[in-house]
């Protein structure tokens, strides 16, 4: 009985693991504008950058180009 419970628990734990990679052509959702840093509203990103610059006296180093679709 104990063995069965242990097996079931391990099975449940393993269900949380996945080795399936997201292929470049499966990145439809990642390529959406809302997935960009700052989301759909670029002004939020601008405002945050302004606050960061005011507080830290430095800028840059936030995010990378591209929409996450794996296109270079």
């Amino acid at each position: 009985m104990m063995r069965l419970i242990l097996l079931s628990l391990s099975g449940l734990l393993l269900m949380g693991c996945s080795s399936k990679e997201v292929k470049p052509w499966e990145k439809e959702n990642l390529a959406q504008d809302i997935m960009q840093y700052g989301g759909l509203h670029p002004e939020v990103k601008k405002f945050e950058a302004h606050v960061y610059f005011s507080k830290e006296a430095s800028r840059g180093g936030s995010g990378v180009g591209g929409g996450g679709c794996g296109c270079n």
């Binding site: 292929k23 470049p24 052509w25 990145k27 439809e28 959406q32 679709c69 794996g70 296109c71 270079n72």
Partner: protein, 147 residues
């Protein structure tokens, strides 16, 4: 039993390997793409959500094709309607295959997107992964080299 499992794992890994330069295209894919052995094919995988594809497709459409060269587009959108609308919007002049069940892209398994393959005699002779500036000039140059 263990031996069988190891063999099964090995074969499953081999079947999942991506097609690369020098590899032959599986017969069923060749038949479905209707490939002629006397022609050079430029196969471009694209999707409506891919911003680089939106940039590249009008340039690829400009590629001058001769009797011995053909461009084939493979759209990998989940919904065929999205792909059709995208193709219509960009006025794509070449043959487009809608790969909604991911059969073609699954067989080629490119490591980047958009993915472009040059095929001659049923074999991949060159690949371009990801977006390239002035792709039309690149294709023209590559076709000259392949011929």
């Amino acid at each position: 039993m263990i031996k069988k499992t190891i063999y099964a794992l090995c074969f499953s890994t081999i079947s999942l390997m991506a097609l690369e330069t020098g590899d032959s295209i599986p017969q069923n894919i060749q038949a479905q793409l209707n490939l002629d052995s006397n022609k050079t094919y430029v196969i471009d995988f694209f999707a409506s959500w891919c911003k680089s594809c939106k940039k590249e497709l009008p340039l690829i459409s400009k590629v001058h094709t001769e009797q011995t060269v053909e461009v084939i587009g493979v759209n990998v959108d989940k919904k065929k309607e999205d792909g059709e609308a995208f193709v219509q919007k960009l006025n794509v002049p070449f043959r487009v295959i809608y790969d909604t069940n991911k059969e073609f892209i699954g067989a080629f398994d490119p490591i980047g997107f958009p993915a472009l393959y040059y095929i001659r005699d049923g074999k991949i002779v060159k690949t371009i992964m990801g977006a390239v500036d002035n792709i039309d000039e690149q294709i023209a140059k590559d076709i000259k080299e392949i011929k």
